[in-house]
Symmetry: C3
Subunit: 431 residues, 3 copies
């Protein structure tokens, strides 16, 4: 496979400057650029639409903002870093005292050089984010503070790609596109997913239909679920929430609520070979849209594979999560893991040997004709596959039992099926 590391990194660089939020033009611009790689359909859900227990909020757009000191010296500017304004800040244009200003300043004392990422989606306020060092260096004021933003009835925007397959059963892939200029969380997600979509779109055949969505986190997944719940419950056999897939420090896995879905099975199996020292997190450490996709009653068979997971790396949700944090290798490795999961799922059938007793591999040229100490070991993987191809084990089960990666087993299954020794069970197991 082409690991697309360079392509994904280049795309992240292009998308980085855009100020995204859960609604607004930043999302639209982002979707438009992603759509250049694989065409996607954009949806607009009006403000006020009830979505489960929630309501689609007003749309927020921002043109700029700054703080100037008593000498009209600009000490903070949205143009310098779009994390500088609290997300969903209401507009303001005021002269304020130092004390008044401080009530609207957010910084991170433990990381004095980092601008923190702060939002206030569901309560009207405004605020500025700066480094702790900047905060400490503030003069006596008064200060001129301006936020040129707009909150209005508008829409929540998301993008969707459907790649149809031979089956109506679906693999569901979701990522969020609502964070301003931060790289691992979350530009890495959409950059990886759009190239994954490209690779899937280029497959000569697809067993499954792929449903791929680019949405704002939480309110977006709730909105999407609310509109597609019945369909998703009926068709989705496995899914992944793709986020924080850009750095190259580790691999992580975030389990579904009970850790027992087909997606979990694929993720754990692939990671056990690709990155045996991967970090496993239970659903208690969840934090992204698996919160919605795996909520009680929703329970889609979905989990997440990350590199450094949200909340678990120091640069998380600060200006330090920039383009130096992610890498071509980091993105490429994550893409490879997801690809192995998807190809494993494409070939995931219960297999059954077609004869009683061991098949005579020798007469098919698959077994050494001379029997001596150790000669059986040469084709041990093949005979082990056959031994557990009893119609009850799917590809991941066999891989787990005989300790061989699924990509190798896919090759062997092809050889054995061509030799008439192996058959697929009529129905794929989906759990």
């Amino acid at each position: 496979m082409d690991n697309h590391g360079q392509d994904m990194y280049r795309l992240a660089k292009r998308l980085f400057p855009i100020c995204r939020s859960i609604t607004g033009d930043g999302v639209r611009d982002t979707l438009s650029i992603l759509g250049e790689i694989v065409p996607l359909k954009t949806y607009e859900v009006p403000t006020g639409t009830p979505v489960f227990d929630w309501t689609v909020p007003q749309e927020w757009n921002i043109r700029g903002g700054f703080i100037e000191d008593e000498n009209s010296k600009r000490i903070l500017d949205f143009a310098w870093n779009n994390l500088s304004i609290v997300g969903y800040s209401e507009p303001v244009d005021q002269i304020v005292s130092r004390e008044e200003l401080l009530e609207h300043i957010y910084s991170e004392p433990a990381q004095p050089d980092a601008i923190p990422y702060v939002t206030s989606y569901y309560k009207r306020r405004y605020g500025f984010c700066m480094t702790e060092n900047q905060r400490n260096a503030l003069g006596n004021g008064p200060f001129h503070i301006v936020i040129d933003s707009e909150l209005k009835d508008g829409a929540l925007t998301y993008g969707e790609i459907i790649l149809s397959g031979e089956s109506q059963q679906e693999i569901f892939l979701s990522t969020y596109i609502c964070h301003p200029s931060m790289a691992n969380d979350n530009l890495s997600g959409p950059c990886l997913l759009i190239y994954l979509a490209k690779m899937l779109s280029e497959l000569p055949r697809r067993r499954y239909t792929y449903r791929i969505v680019f949405i704002p986190e939480t309110i977006g997944s709730i909105t999407y679920l609310s509109k597609n719940y019945v369909h998703l419950k009926k068709h989705v056999v496995a899914g992944f929430n793709i986020s924080c897939v850009g750095d190259d420090r580790t691999y992580s896995y975030v389990a579904s609520r009970y850790g027992n879905t087909l997606a979990d099975k694929a993720a754990k199996n692939v990671l056990s070979f690709h990155a045996p020292g991967y970090q496993a997190y239970s659903f208690l450490q969840r934090g992204s849209d698996e919160r919605q996709y795996c909520a009680p009653g929703i329970d889609l068979p979905l989990c997440a594979i990350c590199r450094s997971k949200y909340g678990e790396y120091p640069e998380y949700h600060t200006s330090l999560d920039d383009l130096t944090l992610i890498s071509e290798a980091g993105l490429g490795g994550a893409l490879e893991v997801y690809w192995k999961c998807l190809m494993g799922l494409e070939h995931n059938y219960c297999y059954r040997v077609t004869c009683l007793g061991e098949p005579q591999l020798g007469k098919r040229g698959l077994y050494p004709t001379l029997s001596r100490k150790g000669s059986a070991n040469e084709i041990r993987t093949m005979t082990n596959f056959i031994a557990y191809a009893d119609g009850t084990n799917d590809l991941f089960d066999i891989s787990n039992i005989i300790h061989v990666p699924v990509d190798r087993l896919i090759e062997i299954a092809d050889i054995l099926r061509a030799g008439g020794i192996l058959e697929r069970m009529p129905e794929a197991r989906t759990g």
Copy 2:
């Protein structure tokens, strides 16, 4: 909760001098004093009554007994310590040689200062118990030995308290009242249970009916089961055999036969938070009335929580198990653990969140309105509760999954239910 440590200790002190056995006036006197705290009903089951594979034995009473040496010097007296006469000793008044006497003396060589506790319920004999040092100091005799006891057709006496609740389903609490002057085993049991009964009786409402019994060990539980088997099998959802709950060295848990009843679940959960280093014993280490309550075909959902468990502390079944061994703190801690178990059971329902996807806690004032690094952690216990409130997990399950004690979860459940976000499933799970 009032931990009643002082009350329980004071009661133990008052009950200590009484000579109890599996039948007789010591039992009646003990029940009478317990009945001052919570009224109890006393039952008398006649000698000769067949109870399962057993028969209610004759009633035994003792007024006194002694050994005098050749100088009429009293070297042992029942009045000094009622462990000095073997339980169920037949009467005797004889002059015996040193050799004859020694055949009727029981001591504990490994604990030369302790008078051992010895009984012979089902074979007629008599005997004296003394310390190994006393035994070694015996003169040449002859000795005058007297036991002023009586074995006659009478009754086996036990006490019962029924505290009715909203449901006919019952919590069954049992302790034994058949040991003479020993504190941890077993005065601590009845002292704790009567105050537990008092606290239960004072509850403004009880979900369950509480069946609380004070019986002689083994023959008493067999007798009680024999009389109430059908009722107990039908109504009891959980129970505890309460014994050895007075010292403050450790907490112990004795599993039911398979360790998988609702009582086991409550006990293991509560102990895992209250006393994480508690000592777990399997049913192979049983020794009290769980032997009967968990016998094949009986199989009541019952286990035991102890402090230093019978058979596992050096003073066990000797005169060293006296009032210095138990403490207000020891009794109070055990009472607290049992209370947490019972309150957990009272609130033990399967819970279910009432909406699809996560509820919007913010609009109910339950979620920080400002989203920044770590802000979700503040209400992580609440969101974790919600995540596993899928209608299949009861309170103990959720506590085990999200690692939060049930007393905290009871508070959260009340908040969420008041907010309309959470509901109880119609039927409590009972296993």
Copy 3:
């Protein structure tokens, strides 16, 4: 039990010189000698018979063979060691150059003093096996090479003993008789099995019918299965493949495909007491006829107990696996373990106590009449047995739960049944 160590070793010594292969007179001679100990029925399956995915091959016999150097000095002779000729070698009588000869020489560089065991059953070739040292000492030639063998349509020969029991349910015991002069693999197998058969034949009563077969490995088990499949599937409740049971270095266990059959249960239980440090192998380390007996769709409840298992000891499949490797003690220990498994199976019922609550053991003379500290421990095994005799646990379950070997439990079951306290459940559990 008579451990028959001496008998088995003596038999191995007598059978050692015979040149066995998967067909031919060596097999017939071996079966004839085994039949002296317990009569067995011999079957001949003609060459060309289709057996599942395989076909019975031609019969091979060999009278001799040698290599002579340019001075007519004999440097290798079949008469010296029958491993010297590759099994199923076609006849040859030629003068060959050093280079031509080397193409037909097999040696084991890592074990320079060992003649390796090599066969070519399903491809026509010829070859000689010698030590690496002999190979290195070969002169310039030319060499006269002779193999006086014959490949012809004939038969595959195997032996069978049926010892009928009270039930039509069967215990299936299989070993192979196809290796030339090697002791642990595999003379130890038939030597042990024929004496196990003798012991079984001498039992005053057998609960189960015993089906005991002596077959060539792989093609023999496939042939036997092919002829008896329906019967075996219907009647076999447990079985063992007996191989490599002669040395005294260790005990090993090779699991069935999922390790969960009644045979696995018996083997693991008995080994856990008899040889707690035994080496457990999964089915991934299989290598003998369990490959066929446990193949998908066959799935007989069968596993293997070995001493040093095939493939796991250095002398395996070389001339070093000779009579010095095995011992009377090694064979005797293995026989004892198999006997314990079989006797465990003979007594393997689900047991149930006949009364509610604990039975009163005292009135049956089974309990100490005096109760003092520790007195209950004396009969703890008996009371533990009773505690788990609830009709759902078979003998092996109870043994595993209460940590007491089945041979001891068989004695206790007899006492309790005689006392009317214990009964067998009508149907033995078979899995």
